[in-house]
């Protein structure tokens, strides 16, 4: 950025690209910042600013809709934690087979299967899952949401985990086996600890994906069961109210916090 001073001609820098980047960041952050600011608005109307207040946060917890939101939040977190745990475990095992299992005929097929939820449009997955549960006569409720989320989260957990494993040379495990560790010991004592940052990132991403999911949840949730996104959507359909902004800001805070943790975990490279 000090290029103007140091070099007259810099082959790498193009005029306007920095401005574009700043515009890009502005567009990305402006709506979030505005909603966060307005969630602290004292006014009953969302249009005018009448000073700072925590009024709407209090409203979320003790207001008329608080029970609905608390139940939705509880569902959201239980589902997110369970689905992320299941998806991460499945993805860790799958990544081990895919990255450390040699070449095999079903490898490409397996990879296709794992990334299927990313390739099929989310609304199609939602429709298909709804139809499936309907066809096999499975009553819609928390369990259907949980199952759908687990499957949908697998690729999100898989990608950071397999990326991490590809970055770990297999000479560590070879050295362990050369030093009389059997395969299981090489896995638990060497590979698993080295993969931990990838596993944590994978878990966090899966957690956020589940927590944030609206479309699939909306299709498979069944009557009366709400998660935070579906509850918010329901409210928004009747107009944006300030308490929704307070909930949104809190949920936004959770996501940003989790992603930040994931960022620092993945940066802490324990192979160095």
């Amino acid at each position: 950025m000090a290029t103007a001073k140091t070099a007259k001609f810099d082959i790498k820098s193009y005029r306007g690209f920095k401005a574009m980047t700043l515009i890009c960041l502005f567009v990305l952050y402006a709506p979030l910042v505005v909603v966060t600011i307005y969630s602290f608005n004292a006014s009953n109307s969302i249009t005018t600013w009448e000073g700072f207040s925590l009024h709407w946060y209090a409203d979320v917890f003790i207001g008329p809709d608080s029970d609905k939101f608390k139940a939705a939040a509880f569902n959201s977190f239980v589902i997110a934690i369970t689905a992320a745990t299941l998806a991460t475990s499945i993805a860790t095992l799958a990544a081990t087979a895919m990255v450390r299992g040699g070449k095999f005929r079903l490898r490409t097929v397996s990879f296709g299967l794992i990334s299927l939820p990313l390739m099929v449009p989310e609304i199609v997955t939602a429709v298909a899952t709804l139809i499936f549960f309907n066809a096999i006569g499975f009553d819609r409720g928390i369990l259907t949401i949980l199952l759908a989320h687990t499957a949908f989260c697998i690729p999100f957990a898989y990608l950071p985990i397999s990326a991490r494993m590809q970055g770990i040379e297999d000479s560590y495990e070879q050295a362990a086996m050369d030093l009389y560790a059997n395969r299981r010991q090489a896995f638990t004592r060497i590979l698993l600890p080295l993969m931990m940052p990838g596993i944590i990132s994978g878990f966090i991403l899966a957690f956020i994906v589940s927590l944030d999911d609206f479309i699939i949840t909306n299709f498979v949730k069944g009557a009366g069961v709400e998660t935070l996104p579906t509850a918010i959507f329901g409210s928004v359909k009747q107009g944006i109210k300030p308490n929704i902004m307070a909930i949104s800001t809190m949920l936004l805070g959770v996501s940003v916090l989790m992603v930040t943790i994931s960022y620092f975990v993945s940066k802490s490279d324990n192979t160095k």
Binding site: E169, S171, Y172, Q174, A175, A176, M177, D178, L179, Y180, A181, N182, Q185, I190, P193, L194, N270, T271, K272
Partner: protein, 367 residues
């Protein structure tokens, strides 16, 4: 060492007709060699020659396509790596980054069933041996390359393997450290009495450290012998060219009499050298003459002499390399040690002179 001794010594690793194929590609073509107990044995060759593959087959990381590998008489090629009492020092050391130095060194003992306390005690002793006790609690990343190298060595030696495999362990070190480590490795091998199998592409390193060297190229064994054998009596053109600097000349064998072969160099020059089995009269072969075995003089000296003219002198530190063109014949490189300059003459470019050598300095090569 004398031949008698070798017969009484046990064979540590016996590779019998080992073949390694990857699909259509044959990495090793029927290799057979015996590595003796308590020997410092080196597999030497350019990259891609199959030396690392052979080492990894002994360690158990590569299957043997055909043939067998025996460790003190026991067939081992079907055992997984963790059941073979051989340990490896990896090229990049492969120190476990999430464990301390002490736990790294103790890992093998622990896996073999020692208690954690015993493993640590023994690991501590090993660290003392390589003079790294003060780093026991550190992580590998906090050590320098040379220190990591020694940890890798201590880790591989701690479970007292029957054979230690070293896969180019010095290649990541700088020149000075490498020289020091060469000596240290040699001493360690003497002290522990463990058979070392050392893989390298550095011929100087191989000559310095080894009891015996196996020179490999393109998946085949080219020559097996003591360093002096390999250097002074290269068997074929590959070995002569790969080990050290040499003058390689195309010659035709004029006649053979009384164990001597008289060869024609072109331009009317003739040289006499020792007969080599398998090369008869009329053969078109290559000849190797080490540049340091040549010296220059104004008049022909005793032995073999050839007349020529100095083209260029090149200063290379300890030596001076002189390029000499024979009259209507090939170019020669003559190497004169700087410490010898009192006795041996250096001529200015353009000067006519003779290059001389003792009988036996020139050697005929198979293929």
């Amino acid at each position: 060492m004398s031949t008698d001794q070798e017969i009484t010594r046990e064979i540590a690793i016996d590779v019998r007709n080992a073949v390694k194929r990857y699909g259509d590609f044959t990495a090793l073509k029927q290799i057979s060699l015996s590595i003796m107990d308590n020997e410092f044995f080196t597999l030497l060759g350019p990259s891609g020659c199959g030396k690392t593959t052979l080492l990894r087959m002994i360690a158990g990381f590569e299957d043997v396509t055909e043939g067998g590998i025996y460790l003190y008489g026991d067939e081992i090629e079907n055992l997984p790596p963790h059941q073979r009492p051989v340990n490896t020092v990896f090229q990049n050391y492969a120190l476990f980054p999430h464990m301390t130095i002490l736990d790294n060194v103790g890992f093998g003992l622990e896996m073999r069933g020692s208690s954690k306390a015993d493993a640590r005690k023994r690991a501590g002793e090993m660290l003392e041996l390589v003079q790294l006790s003060q780093f026991a609690a550190r992580k590998p990343s906090q050590l320098s390359g040379g220190q990591q190298q020694r940890v890798a060595l201590a880790r591989a030696l701690a479970p007292q393997p029957k054979v230690l495999l070293l896969d180019e362990p010095l290649s990541a070190l700088d020149l000075k450290l490498r020289k020091a480590m060469q000596l240290e490795l040699k001493h360690l091998q003497r002290e522990t009495g463990i058979t070392f199998i050392f893989v390298t592409h550095d011929q100087e390193e191989a000559l310095t450290m080894s009891d015996r060297i196996a020179v490999m190229s393109a998946g085949e064994l080219q020559q097996l012998g003591a360093p002096t054998d390999i250097y002074e009596r290269p068997h074929n053109m590959f070995v002569a060219d790969f080990i050290g600097e040499t003058n390689l000349l195309e010659v035709s064998v004029d006649k053979i009499e009384a164990g001597r072969a008289i060869c024609h160099l072109g331009g009317g020059h003739e040289l006499t050298c020792n007969e080599v089995a398998g090369i008869g009269t009329g053969a078109q072969v290559h000849m190797s003459i080490r540049p340091e075995r040549l010296f220059m003089s104004e008049q022909p000296a005793k032995g073999e002499s050839l007349h020529g003219r100095v083209k260029e002198n090149i200063f290379v530190g300890t030596d001076i390399s002189t390029i000499v063109a024979l009259d209507e014949g090939p170019d020669f490189i003559v190497r004169t040690s700087n410490s010898d300059r009192g006795n041996k003459r250096i001529f200015e470019p353009g000067t006519e002179m003779y290059i001389n050598m003792e009988l036996g300095a020139a050697r005929l090569l198979v293929d």
